[in-house]
């Protein structure tokens, strides 16, 4: 998806945010780019291409996921079947939300990105333990990821559980802070 600055209103339009669960948003992913007013598929949208069926990695233009903090954006991508988003730049809140849900946000340099965006349909490997992604020319590149997030993905660490383990420290903070909010 070569478009830059793809915002979360495009990924999942606001009218679909009235759901009270995390499920079933895949059918609404990029809704207004996929379907016209009559509900028919828009021919030249990349996800509507037969070659996109079954693809699990979305290669996107820079600043993917900007805009609203709606976590429905990674939920919709995951429900649709996307397991990783690769770009030269990924917006902050989207990155954080993606990691919380096991959707991999991968940032690589422009040269590697160009290689990937020109090779739709190719099979590549993402090594979460090593934080590397393979390119169609056989080489591997590293991608940056917060160490804690990487461990959570690999070990299935529940971040809420991690916070709860620190409840004594939280209590101490509340008791000893110099002013009360």
């Amino acid at each position: 998806m070569t478009a830059t600055d793809v915002d979360t209103d495009q990924i999942i339009p606001a009218r679909f945010l009235t759901t009270t669960t995390r499920d079933g948003l895949g059918s609404k992913l990029f809704y207004d780019w996929r379907f016209n007013a009559d509900g028919e598929e828009i021919a030249d949208f990349v996800l509507n291409d037969d070659a996109a069926d079954g693809c699990e990695i979305l290669v996107a233009g820079r600043n993917f996921g900007c805009g609203s903090s709606r976590e429905h954006a990674p939920w919709a991508l995951l429900d649709y079947g996307i397991r990783a988003v690769v770009s030269t730049e990924i917006a902050d809140i989207f990155r954080s939300n993606a990691l919380k849900n096991g959707l991999l946000p991968i940032v690589i340099d422009a040269a590697a990105h160009t290689l990937l965006i020109n090779s739709p349909g190719s099979e590549i490997t993402i090594d979460v333990a090593a934080s590397t992604i393979s390119l169609p020319d056989g080489s591997n590149v590293s991608y940056p990821i917060d160490e804690f997030a990487r461990r959570c993905l690999l070990e299935g660490v529940d971040q809420l559980g991690f916070l709860q383990q620190h409840s004594a420290a939280i209590e101490k903070f509340e008791e000893t802070r110099s002013w009360t909010p």
């Binding site: 070569t2 478009a3 007013a37 805009g67 917060d146 461990r151 916070l163």
Partner: protein
Amino acid sequence: MNPPAPQTLFDKVWSEHLVRDESAATPAILYIDLHLIHEVTTPQAFTLLREKGLSVRRPDLTVATMDHSTPTTPVRSFKDLAIVGEGAANQIRQMQKNCADFGIELFDLDSDQRGIVHVIGPELGATQPGKTIVCGDSHTSTHGAFGALAFGIGTTEVGHVLATQCLLQRKAKTLAIDVSGQLQPGVSAKDVILAIIGQIGLDGGTGHVIEYRGAAITAMDMEARMTVCNMSIEAGARAGMIAADETTVEYLHGRSRAPQAAEWDAAVSRWLSLHSDADARFDRTVQMAGDTLSPMVTFGTNPGMVIPVNDAVPDSDGDASFRKALDYMQLTPGKPLSAANVNVVFLGSCTNSRISDLKQAAQVLRGNKIAAGVRMLVVPGSQQIKYEAEALGLDKIFIEAGAEWRESGCSMCLGMNGDTVASGELSVSTSNRNFEGRQGIGARTILASPMTAAASAIAGHVADPRPYL
């Protein structure tokens, strides 16, 4: 022993809220002083708490309201609610149940204190300098206008805060934006922030907390400061902050959730100490001259595509995304924006729906009629603002001009409640996002200040407000 290194405002607020500092292996645990919640980003978080048998740790630090899906036509109880869609109705019901079950105070549909979450926080005096404030909404950055560290979070993190009153966070970098000089008549806070986003770009603030400083910023009242901080997220920033001063103190004095009586003086003293040290180092600094700014408007499909109101639409230099944006907006390079007919004008949203925004728009509209073929919606940011505006007779000015005067809510900013811009229509909006389809499927949005929006309503096309002043 060396004196401690100079600290920024962000450094000070951050370090004061560390339950546990970050390390290479783990993020910091940051305590949250105020958790604002609304109906759209909470259902799944509460469901998780129920599944795990958890309670809300600090209901007393949690403030709830309903704003995104709520109608702006009058409603006093749930059964009167002409809610668009069963989904929205269900969400509102769930919010009521969740707040009741978990002991959280909810400013419900029949409350005189309800409104857009980022409008009522400050109104109540709950937003204060030095606090950490979060909400499942990216415009939480608004509260940074008070020298608070305020930012948006996702629903999973909403769950973390509900259960533990804490968040896992890595410390952001800092960006100082200095706006010098004095704003000219007709130029307001919205124009400043649009100009900033235009200058630094949609990702210019990514990974940074912005501190806004300089004569043009300190001259602003609190509502103007909120407008600036509100759109920090549109430049990709983690948060935006303005140090507290006497203006801030005066605003908070006497508000129901502000410190009272014996605690007031101590609080004021603490608030006024919260500013960046004179020689504090920022990771980046940007300068902008406030006195040469014009009213600004967007012309494309993101808030970074801005021009002065009288400028011609720029050309694309072959950039495909830029060209696509102009195609969507049906705008031609080289032509002024005023060449296009405007169908809808929206005065509202957490960016510009406070009493000063309404006053500025009313000043332009007084004695004028909006153009034939233009529909104008005026949606105050809260019920309190609505009542104040009515006491001042502003509602009559809007109605006489031909605009609709509504109840409070997010309304047409993102059209979740039925207030939408129809496909193909061009709207001038005081909200914060002009993304494709944001205000309705196929809707075309131009962002502007309240004065520019009002002038555009009268003219029937994008118009400079200054001749109307």
